[in-house]
């Protein structure tokens, strides 16, 4: 079957959504439904009695599984504690492991990331690390037991697309676990490109939640991911230097 598998967790949809940046839950709901997603990230923060757990109620009602992240963590120790809190609060062993180096770039800190990944794998988590577009680090994360690797296309929230397609291709060519293009996607053609480069899924948030029409962009992303997946596996024609007629000769 053509399912996306993170450890024991199986999905038909290859678009993982984030919830950050949506103006309100109603807009978020419409976008999530249009995206067709079955897995959506949430962050963990101090509970606010007023705010309640409306987001979780929404995801439960839509039948979308939650993927807690460790956003905001700068060290392995912080990320490990946050992941354990998330497992307790949300009753899932899935975690999007995010350990960033600084606020300006939000790029992953490779040393802390690998350390945290090893600890969480040992603790029984299904670890999905947000990583640099570095084939060597991706390999090490896989060797550490991560259930996927999630290289960035460009920095979080920039919408700059995939800045180093060749690196993404080197990662997908080598990986024995699913590769998820995470961060940097701005529009649907970039989501399609990620899949054509051999990714198994795309994770995006800002491109949809901050679009002028989030619902419409969510639909575009779903179609982009599906189109890219089909194109990747349909066996594209080789590139040629000169033209090749697609109609028979007139003299035939």
């Amino acid at each position: 079957m053509d399912k996306l598998a993170f450890g024991d967790h199986l999905f038909d949809s290859r678009l993982v959504m984030g919830t950050g940046g949506a103006a309100n839950l109603e807009i978020l709901e419409r976008a999530l439904v249009a995206s067709g997603t079955e897995l959506t990230t949430v962050a963990l923060r101090r509970v606010d009695v007023e705010g309640g757990t409306g987001l979780l109620d929404l995801l439960r009602r839509l039948g979308i599984r939650v993927l807690p992240n460790t956003a905001g963590c700068r060290t392995a120790a912080e990320a490990v504690l946050t992941a354990r809190m998330a497992r307790e609060a949300l009753e899932t062993d899935l975690v999007k492991l995010e350990v960033v180096a600084d606020e300006r770039t939000l790029l992953p800190d490779p040393v802390e990331l690998l350390d945290a990944a090893e600890q969480l794998v040992d603790d029984g988590f299904t670890v999905l690390p947000y990583t640099n577009d570095d084939p060597v680090l991706a390999r090490k994360l896989e060797q550490a037991g991560c259930a996927a690797v999630m290289p960035l296309g460009s920095p979080i929230g920039t919408g700059l697309g995939i800045r180093n397609p060749h690196n993404i291709e080197m990662i997908t060519a080598e990986a024995g676990v699913p590769v998820v293009l995470d961060a940097g996607i701005g529009t649907a053609s970039e989501a399609a490109l990620a899949m054509e480069l051999g990714c198994d899924a795309v994770l995006l948030a800002t491109a949809v939640t901050r679009a002028a029409d989030p619902e419409r962009m969510a639909r575009a992303m779903r179609r982009g991911v599906e189109a890219g997946w089909d194109a990747r596996h349909a066996g594209r024609i080789p590139r040629r230097y000169w033209a090749q007629a697609s109609s028979p000769d007139r003299e035939g």
Partner: protein
């Protein structure tokens, strides 16, 4: 301390009671005391020490 704010509780009050009294929901939250996660199953037996730092987290929009 509960999420960084001073919080008075009677001696011997267990964690489950502290959370209920603070008006927190039962599902969708996790608690750490002084940096260690306290599993939900232990809330009714766990009595926070005086001066303990409680962090109560839930899911919010993000990522």
């Amino acid at each position: 301390m509960l999420n960084g704010e001073h919080h008075e509780i009677d001696d011997g009050t267990d964690l489950a009671r502290v959370l209920t009294d603070a008006g927190l929901p039962e599902r969708g939250i996790a608690v750490a005391v002084d940096g260690e996660v306290v599993p939900r199953a232990s809330w009714a037996q766990y009595v926070p020490a005086e001066g303990a730092r409680l962090e109560v987290l839930t899911a919010v929009q993000g990522g």
